[in-house]
Symmetry: none
Amino acid sequence: MKVHIVTIGDELLIGQIVNTNVAWMGEYVTLHGGEVVGASTVGDTKDGIARYVQTGMEEADVVLLSGGLGPTKDDITKNVLAKYFDSEMAFHEDTYERLCKMFERFGRAPLPSHKEQCYMPTAAKILTNKRGTAPGMWFEKEGKVVVSMPGVPYEMKYLMEHEVMPALIKQFTMQPSVYKTIQTAGTGESVIADRISSVTDALPDNFKVAFLPNLGKVRVRLGAYGDDVEVLKKEVEARVADVVAQIPELVFGYDADSLEGVLGDVLKSKGLKLATAESCTGGYLGHRITGVSGSSAYYLGGVIAYANAVKVDKLGVPETTIEKHGAVSEEVVVEMAKGAISRYKSDIGIGISGIAGPTGGTEEKPVGTIWLAIGNNKNTITYKLQLGKDRLKNIEYIGNFALNKLRVFVLDNY
Amino acid sequence: MKVHIVTIGDELLIGQIVNTNVAWMGEYVTLHGGEVVGASTVGDTKDGIARYVQTGMEEADVVLLSGGLGPTKDDITKNVLAKYFDSEMAFHEDTYERLCKMFERFGRAPLPSHKEQCYMPTAAKILTNKRGTAPGMWFEKEGKVVVSMPGVPYEMKYLMEHEVMPALIKQFTMQPSVYKTIQTAGTGESVIADRISSVTDALPDNFKVAFLPNLGKVRVRLGAYGDDVEVLKKEVEARVADVVAQIPELVFGYDADSLEGVLGDVLKSKGLKLATAESCTGGYLGHRITGVSGSSAYYLGGVIAYANAVKVDKLGVPETTIEKHGAVSEEVVVEMAKGAISRYKSDIGIGISGIAGPTGGTEEKPVGTIWLAIGNNKNTITYKLQLGKDRLKNIEYIGNFALNKLRVFVLDNY
């Protein structure tokens, strides 16, 4: 079953809201064995909607529309579809009854604009929308299906789950497919592609691989289609294992795993406590760590040591070390990490200092120079990063880098 | 100038990531006087990309593509476009030089896959991408323009801002339009809509108003189109002043102003120093404050007091106060703010403690109960928030709330 998704609404094209319906519908169709071959977004214009429905019909078996069914006058999808399918309009009693009952519950009567909503194309099978006023519509033409749903996400989801997908499954043969994502951190897309090429070059034709890089993290997604989901799952698992065997030290998790979640798990499982000492990241690392519910089990807190005086007073970094080596130096981050451990009574500490940018660099230490130290009472390991000039991207990159190296430190030392 | 946007990538169609590029590009084009007539999303397939470029060319003057330009083999946009424009490929020395320099800074050499990235269609004008490896490409055919950009949002944005839009403005006639955004914080969309309705109800037909709410902030955007930009600017300014007159205490800035930037400006102008004491926000407030370049002029740093022991040891919150009132209480945040001031030698301090969720609430203090205290050596003011159960949304909301109330505190007390 090939699917094309059409989302309708001016607000999607002028950037007033981010279109989340396509991602939800795409995942839902894919998981049920359909293939989304394309998606399009069009404003509230008659010509546009008709043209995009036509495009969808040409490349797919099923066109799923969301949007343009509300009671306001910019919502014109219904009339466009009636015309497209050469259909009359007729008052749909069942829908009107449902609306009257719905409004009764709120102690109100339907407005004239709601009555207008009950005129439906006679060519359509009406899909009951228990989450809102506008019903869905199911059209068929030459073996192809066009379904129109409201744009409000929870109304669309209700119809997809309760009306549309059950009917599609009856009518079409689905191509089972299975996806698995390998979560990596520590190097770039190209290095990974290079290192796993012996596996990816030998993938059968029914496999797809995708690399999704994001500031120090790269997701590697393997997908396969075939006839039997159980067989596919095993095949994908086997190839995933082959990929992981090439880059074992880079893999921190799978699918929806996050760096901060995985770090939390390893800290918790070893019964370790962590404290942070951040300069240039200004609290971002703490924010990431505490984004995980239950992080108080392993995170004590820490110092945002933005001013040098705070590094000295609150972490015990010797003033002479700052004078001699500068605040952005290996020596200073080592002292910061030590101060986090001793002053916060933690097992593990991290110190971060750098020039986040976009200004503030020197010839010796250009913008983007970052030092990190991670240690416990026995060992300390340091890292130097040379990043770009975008302040917020640098901070996010350092956050990912630090979370990953903290994870690696725990695994190496405990 | 009519624009069609094509976003490329399997990950967009199977729902692995939400497509945010369309919204950003749509807003950016609209603000510059272009009209986005449609958008489409296609997977990493040659036929699909070519077909959607064709569809875009049919309905628009300009087709903007993002995605499918990385060095890995799932990225095929470049070859599809070369074929579409009957173009040879040739090694692009400038791009290779740029890559070599970029990698030199990281102490690495380009990989073979990067060298591959430097083969470019000779029919394209190459657009330098200072944020990543893959350059943009500008094609022309029969007066129409096709631009290809990377899918990584900040690389795409860089190219749109520095290369693409400046060139489009030279080549196409835009419908003159002027927009101005009023930045507010402190109340919700409906309250604002109500309070400014006397102004918005009387807007001429060539005006548009939009409300863009986001976690404690609401942007009110006024826009107008017409023939003369200078006249429009004056008209919009006058209406903006009318709106602001209705809600003066809610307005913190205009257009690209941020709460953290405006707070920084008022602190700097008064020569004041700030320190933070965060529990449930875990460093997020510090992160927001230090997201501003130059924040070291007024931000000293602070404590992430996640564990209660840290609140006691590092901020001097009496243990008895925590025992008696609980860590999430007015009494504790007042002591945290005082501790931030006295121990960090700052003029102003803030203490935050709450139950960020999704679990951890009690009957008396349900999830989403948050206390804040803002003070100096003379006055302390406290706030209680009752938010929802979404941890990350709560944290972001508190961040916005705290930044705004810090701004108000400075204006009221200095």
